[in-house]
Subunit: 497 residues, 2 copies
């Protein structure tokens, strides 16, 4: 999640035993700058209008009666008042325009579903800042940055749309979101089933909390992606850490490392090396998330199946340290320099971003407490255990608040969610977030769709000629479910009248 995430990561790794809090879709945000030059042919000319709604800063208390402007986008080119629907993107931790541009699926199905598209920005992100420039000033100003407040914003917005847009009132709304936005879509259906007839929760790790899943599963999946993408690939990476550590013992070693990895800023101390290792780890994580089958620029401009490309440089783990690290550089260079324009690698590059940087760090320190750990055996990373106490202390230092790691499970039900209906949980098996996702049907109407060749919410991306069959199937299943919800809605409506 941009800079603060790095800070936390840094704190985490500098404090032995504290694990890595990697937020969903975090990496996505770090490349927000790419979105300005986003030129997928699919979205050239995608038309939406920009709107604002006044929201209460605090939906759950009455002492603060202040309001703020929440931004949302509407695209109604294909919307039909007769028998149509409203697809409502439950915005996550970033600028809503970027999500709008990166959720091609909604645009692709709009005509078929006679749908109005609505993209709602999450409070404290993009332009939707409750206290303007002071929004991240302190814990008092950040107090209203919670998933519950965000869901309440969505509910108020849907009511507003139904009241103000002629023809919208008696139309079914479906929540759609990816990553944290996918969690919000699912939770929105759970908590406000009167507002949406169903939810498509793509790559939503709603179980990456408490001990609902093993804290190691995330990094294990990253590792598996590399293992499967080339012989000895993950083993090469596993060995690279010690190689880095050995070079880091001397000033000369640091100098060599800095040159071998073409770093823009030379390494000078232990902290720099920690930062370097985090940056490299994050790079592998990012690649696992965006291991798409076609050329893409979701996080960085990348070739098709980027991990396979990377792994071509990492076939031999049994080489001297120098050679191994030169190979690592080649691998990193695929991710950071696919365009061939970069003259050096900037270790803050995956993580700087003009947007969403502070918000997620706060959320991870309060509600969104996702335990991560590595053991270096089942994964290719240096071992780090999950230490809640130290994590909490770090959060307190950074934000003046302490996490409540059990709250998300208490309020959203953890694994005990079978009373709910009409939620599609889709996951790509390549996506490390699938480890905390729902990958098996819970009931007839809480269904899991898995995409073996899919990375992070591939199904939400625009149609592409190189889409694997599995994602085409997933999307068509998703559409089938959504159409059923819409049909049921209209059948009930007719029954009532």
């Amino acid at each position: 999640m941009g800079r603060p995430a790095v800070l936390l990561l840094l704190l985490a790794l500098l404090t032995p035993g504290v694990a890595i809090p990697v937020p969903p879709a975090v990496k996505a945000l770090s490349s927000l700058r790419w979105s300005t030059s986003f030129t997928s042919r699919h979205f050239t000319g995608a038309k939406y209008s920009v709107h604002y709604i006044l929201q209460k800063v605090d939906h759950f208390g009455f002492a603060v009666d202040k309001t703020f402007k929440q931004r949302y986008l509407i695209a109604d080119e294909h919307w039909k008042k007769d028998g149509g629907s409203i697809l409502f993107y439950t915005g996550n931790e970033g600028d809503i325009i970027w999500f709008c541009n990166n959720t091609g699926f909604m645009w692709d199905v709009a005509e078929e579903m006679k749908a109005m598209l609505v993209f709602a920005e999450h409070r404290y992100y993009g332009e939707s800042l409750p206290f303007g420039n002071n929004s991240f000033k302190d814990s008092r100003h950040l107090n209203y940055l919670t998933s519950e407040q965000a869901l309440a914003d969505f509910a108020m917005l849907i009511k507003h749309l139904k009241r103000t847009i002629p023809g919208a009132k008696n139309q079914p709304v479906i929540a759609i979101g990816g990553s944290y936005g996918g969690m919000l879509a699912a939770w929105f259906r759970m908590k406000y089933p009167h507002m949406v007839v169903g939810a498509l929760a793509a790559s939503a790790p709603i179980w990456q909390f408490g001990n609902l899943v093993s804290c190691g599963v995330f990094m294990e999946i990253v590792t598996t992606d590399f293992k499967k993408s080339g012989p000895n690939c993950s083993e090469s990476i596993r060995r690279s850490w010690d190689a880095i550590n050995r070079y880091s013992r001397t000033g000369a070693g640091l100098g060599w490392l800095s040159e071998a990895l073409h770093l823009c800023t030379p390494l000078t101390n232990t902290q720099d090396v920690q930062h370097l290792k985090i940056w490299i780890s994050e790079t592998w994580i990012n690649m696992a998330m965006v291991d798409y089958p076609y050329e893409s620029d979701f996080l960085q401009p990348l070739p098709p199946w980027p991990i396979k490309v990377v792994c071509q440089y990492l076939r031999n783990p049994n080489v001297p340290d120098a050679q191994l690290l030169q190979n690592i550089f080649q691998a990193l260079n695929v991710y950071y320099n696919y365009s061939g324009q970069a003259s050096c690698l900037n270790v803050s590059e995956t993580t700087t971003s003009s947007l969403g940087t502070q918000g997620w760090s706060y959320q991870a320190c309060t509600e969104m407490v996702m335990p991560f750990c590595t053991n270096g055996i089942d994964d290719m990373f240096e071992p780090h255990s999950w230490n809640l106490r130290e994590f909490s202390d770090d959060c307190f230092k950074q934000w003046g608040v302490r996490p409540r790691p059990a709250w998300i499970i208490t309020t959203y039900g953890g694994k005990n969610i079978s009373a709910h209906t009409n939620i599609i949980f889709s996951n790509g098996e390549l996506d490390p977030w699938s480890g905390g996702g729902v990958t098996k049907d819970i009931t007839d109407t809480l269904v899991a769709i898995t995409i073996p060749e899919g990375a992070h919410h591939l199904d939400l991306r625009a149609r592409n000629a190189f889409d694997p069959t599995a994602v085409l199937l997933a999307r068509s299943l998703e559409v089938r479910h959504m159409k059923q919800w819409i049909k049921d809605y209209y059948a009930n409506l007719r029954k009532k009248h």
Copy 2:
């Protein structure tokens, strides 16, 4: 709801066009003092233990990390670890011990359901005061008095019980509540279906909000109760207001009125007369709520079918004012002096109470905005329309907050709740609150049970030899549903293991 409710009522009536906000179970609380001498044979010796749990003052924000002690009671005499259940009373606006003593139904079914009984006190009532004596100091201290925070308390408490009481972990919990507590029970199942397998919401006016039902329905039901209980009864009351008004024009008239009604404090001005009329209106409302078929002391010690007794004095509306008002006195005397001990009538008596007085007034001014109105035609009261703006201004004057009348519908779904399951809505047809209740089945598992001869949550009261058949039937249906939920729970549990 005790004194502040009166204040609001007063404000309401003094401001033309503002209607009467009568909270559910409010009147119940005004007689909290009766509970100490409560000696229903059923509860003599009812055994429970008193406990406290530390709760976050704010479940929905992290800036305030303060905690407070929530009180709860446990009765486990009949609880079985093998195949048992937990009946969880979702405490409403008052001292939990009083609710515990007045919810005989739970005690009556405990053995049959092998149930542990838990009675959870609602924050800001009884002993569960987040800021001790300062809890009602100002809007800042009152900020955490909402239904959402109360539900979160219940969720945290259930988690705590399951974690700490051996044998409780894998047992089904059922939420039970009456009046506002019934709304909480229903809403708890809606928002936390992972916590409770179902809810019994007795006399829960979940639709007494916005324009979900007509604002006049409440007082129309009160009127019908009187109309049906004796010839010309409601007509006599309808005519009494003008008689009072006529007497109130002169000082001598006020003197006569004060004597005729045996008032402890003589009337001296217009405001006193307004207060008197409110007090009389509240008396009729109270009687409609507690029109039980047997001698009871829920709000006041009363004879069986108290309205019938009252109506014996109100058979002739066509008498001179003096006679009419003397008859009204006789009627009031039934309610206030069944014991024969009172030497005069105290116009603040229905509404004074040592408990719960301030909390509900604040809740009615924030979330629990229930529009009430009268027109003097379909009901027996003086006409008062519902005027939200003036109501809001009054609330702002009293509490420094403004109501958000649409919020309850936005968050809990209004009439659009068919996605939920396993809620029993029971209503007595004599109960004015049934007008805002669910009195028809919504789905197979959202069922309505109506009790023709029932007043306010008669079904939750202890078994009585004079119970009408309808309430016996209602209770047996309720038990049947609850047993089914328990059976389903255990069947699912076995499937998982």
